[in-house]
């Protein structure tokens, strides 16, 4: 069995890269070791495992040059030899071949006499190349049969080996990606503030949810030497570790520059100058930087191409915080416009990243900036902005949504309490100061109105309501809550009823909202007055007292459409004048 002995143990190695199409996945099969010195066997047999034939060119190793990787011979996609090997049922003798084939010429030049195709599941996966027989005789028909059956057994084994290698490579790639992801997340997490400053009279909140691939979002909030507060949001183009590193650098540069320069335009200019030289190609950073004076609400800001933040004005609309400027890191010498506005009591500045506006619904529509702006605008005072935005986003994208990009929201809210001091100081133009006494949510379950009644009663305990007025309020709150539970939310415990109690010092307002969806808002003046005689005679349902009772118990009642449903808003004066119970 001289032949069998001369067939060497083989291994596969990654391709040298001469194959078009799937460079990383292209396996090449080459002799592992120079078992026999080259002079003894000018062209020892080698087994070549190329890519599957449909991938294009096949790479073939020629000869058994001692001690080093044999030179490779490409069988290009349009070489007639490829077709011959694919359709051949046994060894192909190069000698008698009259093909206009570059591969054949190359193989002959390397001393190859016989090429045995290795076919697995109908696919050419490699070749067994043999030089002249050691005995210097021609290959006999027995030899060929042996080679054929050897090839038939070697091919599947080779294929299995190829698959294992491919899977190992894929697993390595996956693992590498996972590791990169973890590194990116680690960097990101470490460079985001753990705690946000909370100046008296302000509520500063941030929400950050990285996408799986980790985008380059960041935010920051820190004290400036002059007592103001810097509020920053930014987004690095690109994802993964590169974006995370640039994010970390930008954040550090902003912090360092801000301590000395403080003014928004100057800070962004400086950071841009520092970033530009080292910025990787095709990357840049959008960034909004604001300096907030907590004492009077002045927000001075500059913007390096970041999505415009919104200011919830409280009048049903949202203003944009506009200032011109190019993203950071694109080119040096940039100037950044500054703008300024006053954040009034109850107003909120909402800084956001494009992960919200550029989220898509299942049908492909984008959430969009207009939708986000409208949502921010119509939020009621003290409605939690972040939750409302996330709820709306969840409704928009539907269940099972794979988050496309990082989502970052930073809210800078001037609470009602500050307003008191600030407005007292600012004089006669002062608007009424609204103080929230209770903000709560209950599940829509029959009987839960009693919980709301107890909570509201406790929240208003300090207002000194006369006992009778308190009883009226409790009944009105109970009826409002029952309506929201039954008629608004259809007794669905997964649907919340929102209750908010607030006062401006002269009157008490209770707002009870359901999430019963968009529907016509009833006009309280058009509601039928319950007719007891008719009810007793069975001409009217015995029910239908709710809104009538509320109206009778409080000074004013209104029904409004709010995001997600309806709200009944009831008002009771605190000046001691008792309600006129109709």
């Amino acid at each position: 069995m001289t032949l069998a002995r001369t067939i060497r143990r083989v291994i596969r190695r990654p391709a040298a890269g001469s194959v078009e199409g799937r460079p990383a996945a292209v396996p090449t099969l080459q002799p592992a070791a120079p078992a026999i010195p080259a002079p003894a066997i000018p062209a020892g047999p080698t087994i070549e495992g190329g890519p599957s034939a449909d991938a294009g060119a096949i790479e073939v190793a020629a000869g058994g040059t001692a001690g080093e990787t044999p030179g490779t011979i490409d069988i290009t996609e349009n070489d007639p030899l490829l077709g011959l090997l694919q359709s051949s049922v046994g060894p192909v003798d190069l000698e008698g071949l009259s093909l206009d084939s570059a591969a054949v010429r190359d193989l002959r030049a390397a001393g190859i006499k016989l090429v045995v195709p290795l076919i697995s599941q109908g696919e050419l996966i490699g070749t067994l190349n043999l030089g002249p027989r050691l005995s210097e005789q021609d290959y006999s028909s027995d030899d060929r049969r042996l080679l054929e059956s050897l090839a038939a057994q070697a091919a599947p084994a080779l294929r299995v080996g190829q698959l294992v290698k491919e899977q190992e490579a894929e697993a390595r790639d996956r693992q590498k990606m996972e590791q990169e992801l973890q590194v990116a997340q680690l960097i990101q997490r470490n460079f985001l503030p753990r705690q946000l400053p909370q100046p008296e009279g302000w509520r500063i909140a941030a929400y950050y949810r990285p996408a799986r691939a980790v985008g380059g979002d960041f935010y920051d909030c820190f004290a400036l030497p002059d007592g103001r507060l810097a509020v920053v949001i930014g987004d690095v183009t690109d994802k993964g570790v590169p974006a995370a590193l640039v994010m970390a650098a930008t954040r550090s540069l902003i912090r360092a520059s801000a301590q000395r320069l403080m003014e928004p335009g100057a800070v962004l200019e400086r950071v841009n100058e520092l970033l530009c030289p080292d910025m990787p190609e095709k990357m840049f950073v959008t960034c909004f930087y604001a300096a907030l004076d907590p004492a009077d609400g002045t927000l001075r800001f500059a913007n390096a191409g970041h999505d415009l933040p919104y200011l919830r004005t409280g009048q049903g609309s949202a203003a944009e915080l506009r200032a011109r400027g190019m993203p950071l890191g694109l080119m040096p010498g940039m100037r950044y416009d500054e703008a300024e506005l006053a954040v009034g009591p109850g107003q909120v500045a909402v800084l956001h990243s494009d992960g919200v506006a550029e989220a898509h619904a299942p049908d492909g529509t984008m959430f969009g900036f207009p939708r986000l702006r409208a949502l921010v605008g119509r939020l009621r005072a003290d409605e939690p902005v972040v939750e409302e935005v996330l709820d709306e986003l969840a409704r928009f994208t539907g269940p099972g949504w794979e988050q496309e990009d990082d989502i970052t929201l930073v809210t800078v809210e001037r609470t009602a309490e500050t307003a008191k001091t600030a407005l007292t100081a600012s004089g006669p133009a002062a608007a009424p100061i609204v103080r929230t006494l209770l903000e709560t949510t209950i599940p829509s379950q029959a009987g839960n109105e009693r919980l709301t009644i107890a909570q509201v009663a406790e929240a208003v305990a300090d207002l000194g309501l006369p006992a009778a007025r308190l009883e009226d309020l409790k009944t009105a709150v109970g009826e409002g809550t029952m309506n929201a539970i039954e008629h608004g939310n259809g007794n669905d415990p997964s649907k919340p009823v929102h209750v908010r109690v607030s006062t401006d010092g002269s009157q008490l307002t209770v707002e009870i909202a359901d999430v019963g969806g968009d529907r016509p808002v009833p006009d309280p003046d058009a509601l039928p007055v319950p007719d007891l005689a008719a009810k007793l005679e069975g001409r009217q349902t015995p029910r239908g007292w709710g809104l009538f009772l509320i109206r009778s118990m409080v000074d004013e009642m209104a029904i409004r459409a709010v995001p997600g449903g309806h709200a009944v808003v009831m008002t009771m004066r605190l000046d001691g004048r008792s309600s006129d119970a109709q």
Binding site: I453, P530, P542, R543, W545, L549, Q582
Partner: protein, 118 residues
């Protein structure tokens, strides 16, 4: 607002049924209240008196229940009165005009006397 589930006790003597309703009158009181009142009416009393002195919560559903029992009492032509309502619920009975069909008294004696005169 501690409000236990409704507790209903019926006292009956010659010609008078007193239904004492304690706790809360809301949807959960529907069945017990109906059973108690219908049971009392089945004995064809000359008067039915509702005792609300231990009632601490009634909502609009409870009002509907009282409207319902009033309708059934009227169908059997049994005079019905009530006592023991807190000032707040007296106000609600006035606003809803329930008190026009359900005379309110200061106490049980007053109710017995008032309904006898009717």
């Amino acid at each position: 607002m501690p409000s236990d589930a409704v507790r209903i006790a019926v006292r009956q003597d010659a010609g008078t049924a007193v239904v004492a309703i304690a706790g809360r009158i809301d949807a959960s009181a529907d069945e017990p209240l109906r059973a108690a009142v219908d049971g009392a009416l089945a004995t064809t009393p000359q008067r039915l008196i509702l005792d609300f002195s231990a009632m601490d919560y009634m909502n609009s559903t409870g009002i509907a229940l009282v409207v319902g029992l009033l309708g059934r009492a009227r169908a059997t032509q049994t005079p019905v009165g009530a006592y023991g309502l807190s000032p707040h619920y007296q106000e609600i009975f006035r606003i809803t005009r329930l008190s026009d069909f359900l005379p309110l008294f200061d106490d049980e004696a007053g109710a017995r006397a008032g309904l006898a005169a009717a």
